[in-house]
Subunit: 247 residues, 2 copies
């Protein structure tokens, strides 16, 4: 089997109200072997989606409450940014050394509840995660006719560095479940559930530089994981807090 990943060239800076599907389709038309097929998976960095959906907040519009001001003082952070983080969170999982790890409304556990000032359109703005990234993925899938995964880079327990993971998907099986299938010796595989959508997000991340303005990557060769419908979305990938052994 082979996989080919290619960053879509020439996408403009995305702005609120842009028809992101149309921009992505045009950019895919500029690839060698142009276009998007039903068996393709298009990985889109969440920031492009969030910007199109108007999730860029000027910090000047944020009024920090008492809890945000207290946390900001303790961790040396901008209280307006902390207010946004709290507004996106259902729970602060860890707070230490200036870093806030939160569980978001979606159920993601990540730094700053996904609130990010990089590539946000200037120091005084922050980008929030899309309100419903699975819905965003479904909308793009309908527009583009291929599977879509929306991605963000998350830190991990016990390992240095961030890896790109799926925060929304449509038309892509989030996991491949090998449990109960035989291995090469005919022994049943007991604990092999592969996080396909996260691995696809990571594969896509390898072909774009963080400063390159290339938020979208076409993955060709994952047909075995592409579904005939939207599928369950990334909820399948989220472990309930009470079931978490690693966390």
């Amino acid at each position: 089997m082979t996989l080919a990943a290619a960053a879509l060239p020439g996408l403009p800076e995305i702005r609120h109200g842009d028809d992101l599907g149309a921009l992505l389709r045009d950019a895919a038309g500029r690839l060698p072997e142009p276009g998007l097929r039903a068996g393709d998976v298009l990985a889109v960095a969440h920031k492009a989606v969030a910007k199109a959906e108007g999730r860029v907040i000027p910090l000047s519009a944020v009024m920090p409450g008492a809890e945000a001001r207290k946390l900001a003082a303790e961790h040396g952070k901008d209280p307006r940014l902390v207010e946004l983080i709290l507004s996106e969170s259902v729970e602060l999982v860890r707070a230490d050394a200036g870093r806030l790890i939160a569980r978001t409304h979606h159920g993601f556990v990540c730094a700053n509840a996904g609130v990010d000032q990089s590539n946000a359109g200037g120091e005084e703005h922050a980008v929030l995660l899309p309100v419903d990234p699975d819905a965003s993925a479904r909308s793009l899938r309908a527009a583009l006719g291929c599977a879509v995964v929306i991605t963000d880079s998350f830190g991990r327990a016990w390992r240095i560095g961030q890896a790109e993971v799926a925060i929304g998907c449509a038309g892509l099986a989030p996991v491949a479940d090998w449990r109960g299938r035989p291995d090469t010796d005919g022994r049943l595989l007991h604990a092999t559930v592969i996080a396909v959508a996260d691995e696809a997000a990571s594969a896509a991340d390898l072909v774009r530089a963080k400063d390159s303005g290339e938020p979208a990557v076409r993955l060709r060769g994952l047909e075995q994981h592409v579904l005939p419908d939207d599928g369950p979305g990334v909820a399948v990938l989220l472990r309930a807090p009470e079931q978490d052994l690693f966390g």
Copy 2:
């Protein structure tokens, strides 16, 4: 930028003492666009490396001690398997619901200290992780003339499913550190360290089925992360226990 990932075809079942480098080189010669170049990254599932290095243990040879027998009884596991897990561990991080999460001698935090009965050559054997996966990667790099990453699938905190990560590498930069470089707005990126070796492991995992006997995948297009020497290996990816915020 583009990335092409291709599973090496026709590798035999690997046995103790096999010249793994020669087998991989022969298999790479059977790919379309055959061979391995200096800018390629070859991802090799740890089990092929461990088997070549004789890290397959018949359970009949294992004498479980008192701690292994106690843990095995508590968690419904084979005491001989638990003895192997303990022998590979410096610390048991979690033990619950039949699952043992350990920190290995290498510093990896993973289920069962990487001890695995799948594709082990029968129910009554277990495969241990290579003793020094970075050294294994360096040896393969010397034999093959391309970068090498040795991989295993690890569970993650807070997310369902396993993702393939790097447990050894040579000639590949384990991380890409964007801190201090400007984003598209010219704002300095503060917290962007990308776990390139882990993302490469995940990309490779997408093109091989767990029961396919395809342990090796050639990744072409990662030249920007390939080093002129062995580089630091995966130690760079391991967070010291006292610095871990997610864990």
